[in-house]
Amino acid sequence: MVKVTPLMSGFIIGLWIGVGMAWVRIYPPEAFTVCMIGHPNDLFSWTINHAFGANFFVHEISLDIPLLTALGVLIGGAVAAIQHKELKFKIRAEDPVWYFILGFAVANFGLMLGYCPIKTLGTVAYGSVQMLIGFIFIELGAIFACRYIKWRLTR
């Protein structure tokens, strides 16, 4: 069995982003083949719009039927976990309220940025200066959080 490394999976996902754009024509916006902020937003907002007649924002490409990457990731992750006996149903949530708040915060900041880190880096590869700034600040935010954690530990 071939061991899947982050380098390898990053490369394959990068190739899929290009294929999705160039041949499947998942567009606009550019490099929108994989986005774990935009696609779940489209799926959720499309469902709410159709169920309750709301007017939540949905990308143009998802107006009729939403993009289903989020559902696919859940299926793919579950298949891999079952195949390798890594299902963790018995693990208790450490602090569900804290994780709920984190999910809430990430969704809001992510929608402010517009996209997830994967889509952001995919658009950087497409040559976007705007998303290069975005990706740099995602990583700066991560480094700032690490510094904060270190500071809390040394206090």
């Binding site: 899947v4 490394t5 982050p6 390898m8 999976s9 990053g10 394959i12 996902i13 990068g14 190739l15 899929w16 290009g18 294929v19 999705g20 754009m21 567009y27 550019e30 994989v34 902020i37 709301a54 939540f56 924002f57 490409i61 939403p66 289903l68 990457t69 696919g72 859940l74 299926i75 793919g76 992750g77 579950a78 891999a80 976990a81 963790k88 450490e94 309220v97 994780y99 709920f100 999910g103 915060a105 990430v106 809001n108 992510g110 402010m112 517009g114 997830c116 880190p117 880096l121 200066v129 705007q130 700034i133 995602i138 990583e139 935010g141 991560a142 480094i143 959080a145 690490c146 954690i149």
Partner: protein, 147 residues
């Protein structure tokens, strides 16, 4: 055509989910691990994804694939958008470290049955609703006033 997009992204998502579950890939956790303990394992996903995407854009732009406006280069539309991107990106990176992974990783962890990831996703979808109902409206108004 839209069914075609939905099926394509579903299949692509299965591939992404499978690969992410096997490799633990996360574009934020890689930087966190490198910064905290100098572990370079996860950070290799960044050059991998960049090279894969750039390579495929480059190849497809040469062999009649659909790559409009490639390369984009200077695409900053306004300073307000730029500030929103900076705030959004910084906040996304900051809170992702505390959540132990980006949204993609949280979907994968939820598919493994982890309850903390399920709580995260519950907050994530409530957050989407909140953004659409409140924050998005505030931002749209602000942009209209400042522009």
């Amino acid at each position: 055509m839209t069914v075609y997009f939905a099926v394509a992204t579903l299949l692509g998502g299965i591939l992404v989910g499978y690969l992410a579950q096997r490799s633990g890939m996360c574009l934020v956790s890689g930087v966190r691990d490198f910064y905290m303990v100098r572990d370079t394992h996860l950070i290799k996903a960044i050059p991998g994804l960049f090279a894969g995407a750039l390579g495929s854009y480059f190849i497809y732009s040469r062999i009649a694939g659909f790559t409009p406006n490639f390369p984009l280069f200077w695409d900053i539309s306004s300073w307000i958008t730029c500030i929103l991107i900076i705030i959004g990106a910084f906040g996304l990176g900051f809170f992702t470290v505390f959540a132990d992974g980006c949204p993609n990783k949280q979907f994968v962890r939820a598919s493994e049955g982890r309850k903390d990831a399920l709580a995260y996703l519950a907050g994530f979808f409530v957050g989407i609703a909140y953004f659409n109902l409140v924050l998005g409206q505030v931002i749209t108004t602000l942009i209209a006033v400042l522009a």
